[in-house]
Amino acid sequence: MHATSDARVAILGVVPRVVHAPVNADECAEIMTACAREGLSVGIIGGGTELSLGRPPAALDAVIRTRAMARVLEYAPADMVIRVEAGVTLAEVQAVTRAERQMLALDAPHPERATLGGLVATAGYGPRRARYGAVRDLLIGVTLIRADGVCARGGGKVVKNVAGFDLPKVVCGSLGSLGLIATANFRLHPLPEVAQTAIFPAISAETAASLVNRMRQAQLEPASAVAIGQGAGALDLGVRFEGFDKAVAHQMKRLRELGPSEALSEDAAARFWKRHDEARTGGALRIRIAALPSHLPATASLLSPLFAALHGAHFVAYATLGLTFVTGEIADVPAATAALLAARSALTGSGGSLVVDDAPADVRANVDPWGPLPGSFALMSELKRRFDPERRLNPGRFIGGL
């Protein structure tokens, strides 16, 4: 077992006293048990791609890095199910499954570094969530190492299973606050035969929302529909279809009937999606907005004060889902702060949310990453208390300081 001190392993500026790198779930449980015995607070790091999430931990004695837990434990192509250790990266899973013409239908950013454990803990996703759902829809089983070191399983290895409470759902997006996800089981999908992307260039948010609506009316089934712009003025709406060759060609043809779109060559499509990756993940400020899909134009106009306070800003809207990312560099701290708080207030007023994924310290000083507490917060708090009564797992980092 390796235990080292490493100042480079910090979570939001908080440096742990000790870093562990277990190689399997048993070792991980031993470490967690030892931490429990000594009353140590524990942070968990996978690929380290989302370390900026949340508030700085209130205490961080030890960090457990899961990257050395990197085995694919079981892969049954005929059952389209895979069981992996937490530290396996998304790219590694895709490489293994691609050989059988299958895939994990998850296209979160940084696949070379992002681990499956981390993707579950942060509920990570990419544009194709529009078609395949979120991590919660793909995860069918987990092994959780609890704060007291006890190893608990939930779900199973078959897609259809209602035995017991759905622990896999409970840990999705729980940001290491309920336990360490040691292994995860996923359902897989067939690898699409082909994929094609078309774009509607330089359109307004109103037009983008209307196109999304008309695509649904026309019974088109895109894998993703993403509007990208520098600011929310002129947007390029990229629509991707994937599946069997004939079906994709047919849908691309039907899409052209909806408005002036341009089918992209393979290279051009790759460039469009790379541009998406960069726009979504770059910048000192990164925020995530959730609203109803039809509110896209309202969301866009709501954000104009924020765009005025940024430079190099990007707007990335997953238009069928109502999920929008804004990234950029802060030009004016007080103006950006005010704009974030005003946008958040308007969004939460209509049932949505604004979460700050990353921001410079001077913005964080006045903008909580999570925002107002939901009505169910007392219940969340109680869930945390039941799983981690001593508040040792990532204490203070999650919503409301859980």
């Binding site: 015995r37 006890v150 009316q217 004939k246 999570w370 009564p389």
Partner: protein
Amino acid sequence: MEAKTAAPIAQDVVDRFAAIVGKPHCISDPEQLRTYECDGLTSFRARPGLVVLPGNTAEIVQVVKLARAEDLPIVPRGSGTGLSGGALPIPGGIVLGLSRMRRILEIDFDNQWMRVEPGVINLDISKRIAPHGYYYAPDPSSQQVCTIGGNVAENSGGAHCLKYGFTTNHVLGAKVVLADGNLVELGGPVLDGPGYDLRGALVGSEGTLCVVVEVTLRILRKPEATRTFFATFPSTDEAGNAVSLIIAAGIVPAAIEMMDRLAIVAIKAATGVDWPDVGAALLMDVDGPLAEVEHTAAEATRWAQEAGALEIRVPRDAAERDVMWRGRKSAFAAMGRISPNYVVQDGVIPRSEIAPVLRQIAQLSVSSGLRIANVFHAGDGNLHPLVLYDAAVPGQEALAEHTAGEILEICVRTGGSITGEHGVGADKAPYMTSMFSDDDLATMNMVRCAFDPDVRMNPGKVFPTPRLCGDRPGKYVPHATETTGLAGRG
């Protein structure tokens, strides 16, 4: 089976419940209570002390608060179609029937969601939105009578969840009344509210966490086209192989259902469908954009032939398709035509194990001397063996129950599950230990305790042994040998 009973609830307490919901909606007469002694699993019976049928959320809050004040357990109930005894009353306790809560509150087609009360019938949701070209995907076979609240409790599936997922994938949010009477919203029409995914914990919790008073559902645009075919095979081996080949070709059918010889005989007797007497049949739907469906239907047909299909029938029109599907969906009830009694089992196996597991089930049939029919969701390995027996023959009911239990053990041994869609309820609670360790169950219990620390909601279900919550899980206490330095950990 005789119902378990307990001392009746005092009349003054009954009167107070009646004052909340109105006298006609408060049932305490022993004869009328009989109706509520069991759900779809009729071999488990218990006489509730009182059945209350509230008509709105405010009444539910008051009922829950009064039950708490009187320290009475609450069992929520929809239509009572569940097959695992999830709505089995606690003797002398409250049954909270949600059948009067059946309003459709809000529909937002642009954003693909609707908000309904828990007593709304599953099929009525799709019927209501069908004129607009939308539908609600989960379609349990009981969809003409089961309620959406019951579906949320059980995380109900159905034939079409192979492609579209289960209830949990289609519930965006819920408004619930907690055991302390507090009203809380979990999730909602907008995705990704910050914090824990509590609606994920709720769906499939079998009424053990809270009472659902409103549900926000995802609704889907109808696919452009659907193609159905019915294929017959000499035996379940070839049919199982056909399923494997179709899935391996990258096709995700909307549904792919298998029936064995005995199931076909029963369905024919019950519904009059003109299916041939064969060893096995598949009923399959593919749906999606027209060009995709034409391709996948042709490919699937080709693979079925490759696997040795005897005949492939394509329905001429929607009416004929409906007849085929009605045949499949009436399969459980159809058993009544060929056997006085039957046990419905629900277990899951990895799809690749279908053929060998069906052979093991056939051996069980031989060794027990009981006929076993198989009708199931082949695409996701969700078996529904029906163990046929005659209750008039002494010992046969117990033998049938035992045989059904052995099938579950096969499911667990292959890496599957003791239930794919009917739930654990009262029936399968004892089998939970074959799938989960005590630590696993204790961890699930933490979720329950966060919602309902008094264990007032549907006690005695899901968990194999009664579990209490205690105010606070214990702090780590080192073993004596550790503190004396005789042994180390980690």
